[in-house]
Symmetry: C2
Subunit: 631 residues, 2 copies
């Protein structure tokens, strides 16, 4: 097996590659985050790199144009170095730090006071032994603990007992005992001599497929000391959970690599948090984590293979807390990690967390919770019943598969308006940068405004219109030029094509069909929904009017919608600071009935009916029925 | 710091020693087991070695005679090599394999059938998932487990869950689940695909200060596959628990060294057992251990310092099971180790085990349990109440401190009779070898027969007698020659001196005073004792008539005495094979009231009264009152 060297530019990092390795493999090992939505399958063409020197065997050139090929472009995942090479990774192929939703929606920012955190320290004054009271040290500790904290037969590690005689005497029979809740049982995880104990912290984690967010929390006061968010470094192995699972299963040590990658991501967040707050890693004693089912499996190193294979069975939904040492998380090695319980393969602990944050399980009214990403996860119900489903919305809303789609990073068009007649375009971008692409909320606007401007019909097809430079046919496909090359940040036109529009309609149809299927299952009309909670990063920028207008969300008065931000991390924080919240989460996960949409024809029928703007049955959208151009 | 080399002969092992190390230290590191009753204090003079060449700094020559010094003898613990040396270790200074009480008393050999062993494997047939039944793998397993074994929310290790999806599918939804009982909770410690599971074993351990015994048990059938016993290698650090504690506390890494030593001892027993039974170490899944409180502390590496300091408080009496990996025990790393709960610093889990074996806690009659060793531990009571105490009998009965005292090894005089008048001596030795010393049972005989022969008076003093070559005065001390040099295995006289006799009387007085103090505490006469259970290795050879004759044991009809052998290992085995027995042990340890003999004057008064043969109050020994020589 021959070994060549690849030098990455402008990073100037050189790394040896085996002949069976691609440039993408080498970049991953070199710690350079390259976009790879398809996880190295050669289909997304996002891992474009420029060959500066050297020879390579090229498997596929994907969607690269003749011109790009002439300029030395190659797909990193399809290129196997055959000699030493110099490779430039352009900025557009890098995973950039993008907007990460680190906090909850302002409207929904209920404060949390620590009632009974999962970890606490309590001061004990033990009775000094005498010849008349020669009870052993441990029983002495336990009886005081029982008296002061109503803790009965706690677990305790051998190494704490090994030092116990010295500890209790060093503190002159005063000790500070650290108690961690292990799913209802209490464990003594540390004993300090005396009462001058060290402060103690917890970490609430939201592990998303795309982004990871961590809150550092003072467990005594409940105060958040800092929030950090970043992209999930696993992105180099694919954008969505399915590509991640495939990578984990099909690559030797793929699962291990996937686990190490998410742990590295988390450890970097922790490093930033502790540095900013002057906290010692060792004083982080409890970590709660909300994540979708695949992320939870990968985080814990649990085989995720059967999540993606019919009948879609996860290895587990609920698991006993494990230790930071088990996962090499940079916290106290004895810190416990509690993962909020999931519901099914495609409705995870992040949804349990979100539902708990909304409190819809405690209300008489019927409410709907929606978290739209690659998968649209939704929960419908009230205090008596709750149903959940996950519809595969596809990656369109996260920019995947859409020619100029992108995530909500700097330069992404997040709002757009097309003037009927002139077809003039007004847009707003994230960070007010020159536009480089269009993110989910922009895409929804786009469909809505193109329909309102009469550019497309109810099925999404381009309508015959008077000639306008905005509408063109390129390579046999009709497209609409949103931003001409001279105004864009990329030097090329930013467009939306017929194919893109059809993709987006399929995505919105999946979301709406999910809602309809749940309603049908419980036999209720849309109007029965008292309130809709929208969660997730994508939801923040969404123009609700447009989302209803294209038939993605139910046609309810806008005031019934509430944006609740990152409810996943908020739920994780609730669990961290209240045992009751943890218990509620467990109960909630058991209470929610999962509806498998692939059984029967209900969903498929609803999906097909929803492949119109707004819907085949316009009666479902009374508010836009008349306003809409009746073409 | 200079380094010299010591070559041990005849072993021909050479080892480097630092200038601060003794020859004993070097021998320990070289793995040569040298006697060291005092733990290196220079007082017992048992670690005699012969200097063949080289220079050394000698701290003390202890009890070595001029003649021995002239022949090159030195005490290994007091000799610091100053040059390379050649050292011969004579056979008499080595810890020899001696009789180890590996099994229970024949009369008391109740069989144990495994009712509910602490570890078991059960076969489960899981329901295969479908789109209509998409419950996660773990819940699927748990619900079947609950149905078949009534196990609710068991604990399970992350690494088992990590492989769970593959395991259940490899076995085509048939699995064999290994369940271990962790003090009432159940833990899943292994899952095998299919129903062709590997056999599984347990180990019952008795860790004595002097000897260690292990039974290898088939956990499915309850059958003992083998028994091995050996001396406790910690013996090189001292004969009794106090010297072991001092060594552990006062030497840097002393505790670690002490722990490693007992674990090495146990691992060698395991190696022998698995070799003899063709069992795989990894198939040993549960270990139960009965030991005195100090041994339990040292085994677990728990600071034992305060056991020996007033008010004599152990770090713990009862502890949750730990894993074989925690202690580097050569069993499956996940094997659990359960230590039977102790009662106090000087009444340990071995006594709890013993009492459980006798079942005195279930009887209406009042019974007495005695385990005589360096400490006489005893428990008195019935189903309603139980009291325990420990009297420091001293090492005399185990041969310690007695000039020709030894443990019950080959050549130890175990029975002896002196003919009144002629003072002719008849003796029997262990293994029918030439006598080399006298063990505990022989020493009891010795006092009894010397008193019956009129050689000593009621206080143990030599009586004025017609001249007889058996009675001599050497170095100003009177002694009785039990075996003349020409008949002995050592080439020297085997004698018992006035000092030895006084020591033995103190020892027997301590035992009897313990019994009397307990009786006084509960307000009962000796006759109230329906049965006396004698436990331990020393008890096996004891001549009960003599033990009563010297006033060591209460004067009760001989048929009320029952020898129960190694009740410690038997109790460990019971716990291994029955969860109920484990629960009983826990209850028993809590139920027994420990009487601290150092409080008040009761014990001291009883002790002083017992410093006569048989006792100051002869009414306590009606059966021997008249038979005894009335001098």
């Amino acid at each position: 097996m021959s070994t060549n060297k690849v030098r990455f530019l402008p990073d100037d990092i050189t790394i040896a590659v085996e002949s069976h390795e691609t440039i993408l493999d080498a970049a991953v090992r070199a710690g350079i985050a390259v976009k790879s939505s398809c996880g190295g399958a050669g289909t997304c063409s996002r891992c474009r790199v420029i060959t500066k020197s050297g020879q390579a065997r090229v498997n596929s050139t994907g969607k690269l144009t003749e011109e790009e090929l002439a300029r030395g472009y190659a797909l990193a995942c399809q290129t196997y170095p055959q000699s030493d090479m110099e490779i430039e990774i352009p900025e557009t192929s890098r995973l950039a730090a993008h907007q990460v939703l680190t906090s909850q929606g302002q409207e929904f920012d209920q404060s949390i006071t620590p009632t009974e955190p999962l970890f606490k320290k309590i001061k004990l004054q033990l009775l000094e032994p005498s010849l008349d009271d020669h009870v052993d040290d441990m029983s002495r500790l336990y009886s005081e603990l029982n008296k002061m904290a109503e803790v009965d037969s706690p677990c305790i590690d051998l190494e704490i007992i090994q030092k116990l005689p010295q500890t209790v005497r060093k503190g002159n029979w005063k000790v500070t005992v650290s108690l961690a809740d292990i799913k209802g049982r209490t464990e003594i995880v540390n004993i300090e001599p005396g009462w001058d104990y060290k402060k103690y912290y917890g970490l609430a984690l939201d592990i998303g497929t795309t982004t990871v967010v961590a809150h550092l929390v003072d467990l005594e006061s409940g105060e958040s000391l800092g929030v950090e968010g970043t992209y999930n470094k696993q992105a180099v192995f694919g954008d969505d959970v399915i590509s991640r699972i495939i990578y984990a299963v099909e690559h030797k040590k793929g699962l291990e690599q996937m686990q190490t990658t998410i742990i590295t991501t988390i450890n970097e967040l922790i490093d930033n948090l502790v540095e900013g707050s002057h906290v010692d890693h060792n004083d982080i004693w409890y970590i709660t984590c909300a994540a979708n089912t695949t992320m939870t499996h990968l985080f814990l190193g649990i085989d995720p293979e059967y999540i993606r294979l019919e009948p879609y069975v996860p290895a587990f939904n609920s698991i006993n807390p494990i230790t930071a040492a088990d996962l090499s998380i940079k916290a106290n090695p004895k810190a416990r990690i509690y993962c909020l319980p999931g519901i099914a393969s495609y409705v995870g602990g992040d949804i349990t967390a979100g539902v708990e944050v909304t409190g819809i399980d405690k209300q008489d009214d019927i409410n709907l919770f929606i978290d739209v990403g690659t998968n649209g996860e939704m929960v419908l119900g009230n205090s008596e019943w709750l149903v959940a489903c996950a519809c595969s919305a596809g990656p369109a809303f996260e920019g995947g598969g859409i020619a100029y789609g992108m995530r909500a990073m700097d330069g992404a068009i997040e709002h757009i308006r097309v003037t009927p007649g002139t077809l003039d375009v007004y847009w707003e971008t994230v960070g007010n940068k020159k536009p480089v692409g269009i993110c989910g909320s922009g895409l929804i606007d786009c469909i809505s405004t193109l329909r309102e401007a009469g550019v497309i019909d109810r099925t999404g097809n381009f309508l015959p219109l008077p000639a306008n430079e905005r509408v063109q046919i390129i390579d046999g496909e009709k497209l609409f030029i949103l931003v001409p090359a001279e105004e864009s940040g990329t030097g090329t036109d930013i467009t939306i094509s017929q194919t893109d529009i059809k993709d987006l309609i399929r995505s919105k149809a999946a979301v709406f069909a999910g809602v309809q299927t749940m309603l049908k299952t419980v036999g209720l009309p849309v109007e029965a929904i008292e309130r809709v909670y929208i969660a997730g990063g994508f939801g923040r920028y969404i123009n609700l009017h447009d989302a209803i207008n294209i038939g993605m969300f139910p046609d309810l008065p806008l005031e019934r919608y509430k944006y609740i931000g990152n409810s996943s991390v908020k739920g994780a924080k609730m669990a961290l600071l209240s045992k009751e919240a943890r218990r509620e989460a467990e109960k909630l996960a058991e209470k929610i009935t999962y509806i498998e949409l692939s059984i029967g024809n209900d969903f498929m029928e609803e999906f097909v009916s929803a492949l119109f703007i707004p819907h085949t049955n316009v009666d479902l959208f009374p508010s836009i029925n008349q306003a809409c151009n009746p073409v």
